[in-house]
């Protein structure tokens, strides 16, 4: 099948067994690849109600049909699992070189199931799988783990690891790769930790079949050429995602002090330009990327060199603004710390900011922590990151994320637990950005920006109006996840204005038949609705109530800066939700209608909803 390796590798880490399965053509047709594959796998194979950390949960990793091919930024891989953070399907994508390597090894998806008794590194070398003892690596940071494995196995292996946070089942533990790329969200690193999988190493020597190699080369050259013609390129690559920091402040959307406000005084000191002036040593591109946003940095800490990839924008927002770290070196050091411990910097930053605010309000005390903690203090940050990753003292509770921590701590702290569905809000305040607000409210995995980054639409169309905002969010939730299915990065389209139409020539060169974005959008909608149904099956009463933002955003006006005084009240949220559900073909309770599911061919979903009395 052109574009696909043609096989799936299923690994049972409990039985230390593996099996190569032929890729199902219907799966490829209906769900394309990447996030489509991993979420469908979790939907089909992990029973409803399974313990995310138990033997019945699985972790899947899938590149897409364009991954590994000569087309701009075709280096993405998607991980999926039943998320410990949210209790619903969670997934997260990662750049670098891991996804393409899976395809060169001959697979369109890896499935990891069971639980190992002892720590293990999965070593996948084309058709061979070795269960390598990882007892010596257990407890080690992700950097040392990857470095050790590269030395032992060879530099040609692409390696994904977890840090101590993953081992200790922190609900927002990430997966690390290539000394700085992460699949950060939804706690997939913790599920690998529960399975005692310390690392996955992959090396492949095979070719990816394409319909017309000459056409792929020709079209690929043309696509790269078009990227270079874009005027946005000159601004984009030198600073990468960090370059948006001043703009986000200027529009009053920069998370600051646990989202108490949305403008960070001194943001210039932690933005892209400060990075470039002070710490960047090289651009570090993902596979086949013409416009690398990856920056690799070096700083001095207590006389020693500290290396880190980044910080990229989300990390700057969540560790910088939200925890108020004042200097780029602080943010970079905190970034490195999180990466090495295996903490997602988005949720990690949100949880630490939440803890700092709880401390301010006396909800968490000095007696409980054994010390003072304060905003903008790197020592406090390091202390909290460590007790969370190692689950010591108060860190044990914080390790379960802001929703659970707030519910246990009480004192209405849930009001400022910045999360939706259990997943912490990422780096854009949306109190003065309704399209961005409804995007966060409805993102299928919880409050994540990558499903729909609509804040530019708000800025262009008016910050206060609700009109057309939900519709735009749905459009973006169709387009952006489509990239997750094909295995490419979306940033060329988002950031430098590289037109979507450009890709369709590549689809034809790779697949050998005409494929349009529209075909992929249908799969993206199918996936979206399937995930919604799974959430309904998983969580009693799941629906509209799970789509509201934290009370802070509905009731507490922004304290300062360009968005001072702004909020989106509950009535406005209701209007956005009504519009959104209508656009989606869902009822007012936020449930997909039978007609909507039928149109997408999700007959299995209908049957399951009926069997549980959730559909007439």
């Amino acid at each position: 099948m052109n574009g696909y390796a043609g096989y799936i590798l299923r690994i049972d880490v409990g039985a230390k067994a593996f099996r190569k399965e032929v890729l199902d053509r219907k799966l490829a047709k209906d769900f394309i690849g990447g996030r489509g594959f991993v979420d469908k796998l979790i939907y089909d194979e992990v029973p409803v109600g399974a313990d995310p950390f138990g033997p019945l949960n699985k972790v899947a990793a899938a590149p897409g049909p364009l991954s590994g091919i000569f087309t701009p930024a075709s280096g993405k891989v998607q991980f999926g699992t039943l998320s410990p953070a949210t209790g619903i399907i969670g997934d997260s994508n990662m750049g670098g070189h891991f996804g393409p390597e899976i395809k060169y090894a001959g697979y369109d998806m890896l499935i990891i199931e069971g639980v190992s008794n002892t720590p293990v590194t999965l070593v996948i070398d084309d058709d061979k799988v070795d269960f390598k003892d990882a007892s010596d690596l257990w407890g080690k940071g992700s950097f040392e783990t990857e470095e050790t494995l590269k030395k032992q196995l060879g530099a040609d292996f692409q390696i994904a690891t977890i840090g101590p946070a993953g081992e200790n089942k922190v609900y927002f533990a990430c997966i690390n790769h290539d000394f700085g790329r992460q699949a950060g969200r939804t706690g997939i690193g913790a599920v690998l930790g529960a399975k005692k999988v310390k690392a996955i190493a992959v090396k492949g020597s095979k070719s990816i079949p394409v319909a017309d190699p000459d056409a792929v080369l020709k079209v690929g050259m043309n696509l790269y050429r078009k990227c270079f013609e874009k005027p946005g390129l000159a601004e984009w690559t030198p600073l990468g995602t960090a370059g948006v920091t001043p703009w986000v402040n200027e529009v009053g959307a920069f998370p600051t002090k646990n989202f108490q406000t949305t403008y960070f005084e001194g943001h210039e000191k932690i933005g892209g330009q400060a990075m470039k002036d002070k710490i960047i040593v090289t651009d570090k591109g993902c596979f086949a990327c013409p416009t690398p946003c990856g920056k690799y940095s070096r700083l001095k800490k207590e006389g020693k060199d500290v290396y880190v990839e980044g910080p990229e924008y989300e990390t700057i927002a969540m560790l910088g603004g939200d925890c108020m770290l004042p200097e780029i070196e602080d943010v970079a050091y905190a970034n490195r710390l999180c990466d090495d411990l295996g903490l997602d910097t988005i949720s990690g930053g949100a949880v630490i900011a939440f803890a700092l605010e709880c401390f301010d309000k006396g909800i968490i005390t000095k007696e409980q922590l054994g010390r003072d903690i304060s905003w903008g203090d790197i020592g406090s940050f390091e202390f909290l990151a460590n007790i969370i990753a190692k689950r010591q003292g108060m860190g044990d509770l914080l390790a379960m994320g802001t929703r659970i921590a707030a519910n246990r701590l009480g004192h209405d702290s849930i009001r400022f637990a910045t999360q939706v569905k259990g997943l912490e809000w990422s780096g854009y305040d949306a109190r003065w950005a309704p399209a961005m607000m409804i995007s966060y409210m409805t993102a299928d995995i919880g409050a994540h920006h990558n499903r729909s980054w609509a804040i530019t639409f708000d800025v262009a169309k008016g910050r206060d109006t609700l009109e057309g905002k939900a519709k735009r969010a749905v459009e973006l939730q169709r387009i952006r996840p489509a990239f997750d299915l094909i295995g490419c990065c979306r940033l060329q389209w988002v950031e430098i204005g590289f037109e979507l139409e450009n890709y369709e020539a590549m689809f034809e060169a790779v697949f050998g038949e005409r494929t349009t974005w529209q075909d992929i959008y249908v799969a993206a909608d199918r996936l979206w609705n399937m995930n919604r149904v799974r959430a309904m099956l998983e969580i009693p009463g799941f629906g509209r109530d799970d789509d509201y933002p934290p009370k802070r955003f509905m009731e507490e006006p922004v304290l300062s800066g360009p968005a001072k005084g702004k909020l989106i009240d509950r009535a406005s949220c209701d209007r956005l939700l009504d519009d959104y559900y209508m656009e989606r073909g869902w009822d007012k309770a936020g449930h997909p209608t039978k007609k909507t599911l039928e149109a997408l061919g999700l007959f299995g979903c209908i049957d399951e909803l009926k069997a549980r009395g959730l559909m007439a």
Partner: protein
């Protein structure tokens, strides 16, 4: 054409390898290319591009004289190649390829990598120009 590189421009994207394998072999497979951008991480945090400098070490060790200089490049006469692997072992840059069931193959300075590199990290020293599209 003579290949040359500016390592500090490389971002490790492997576009050179893809263009090489598709041009020379009609395959999408970076492992079957004659150029190797290698990252050095976590420290010092840079890339080194290994490529064929047409140094002739392979020709020096070839026991059958299959490799000889033709114009600017060293070329392999596949009829003479006995697949012994001496050239692979001798290559200072690990860019000779000897795959199972095939004769040895090497870079012929076709320039596909130059054309494909988004950073002009690999360029043609005859013209001092990279592709950069």
């Amino acid at each position: 054409m003579h290949l040359a590189t500016i390592d500090k421009l490389c971002s490790g994207c492997k576009a050179c390898q893809l263009a090489c394998s598709m041009t020379r072999r009609k395959e999408v497979n970076p492992k079957r290319s004659f150029i190797r951008p290698e990252g050095r991480f976590p420290a010092p945090g840079d890339y080194i591009i290994k490529y064929c400098t047409q140094c002739g070490e392979c020709a020096n060790v070839c026991p059958t004289g299959a490799i000889s200089k033709k114009g600017d490049i060293y070329d392999i006469d596949e009829d003479l190649c006995i697949q012994c692997g001496a050239c692979v072992a001798a290559c200072p840059f690990s860019v000779m390829l000897l795959l199972d069931g095939e004769k040895a193959k090497k870079c012929n300075a076709c320039g596909a990598c130059v054309a494909a590199c988004p950073r002009a990290a690999v360029y043609d020293s005859d013209t001092s120009k990279g592709g950069r599209y």
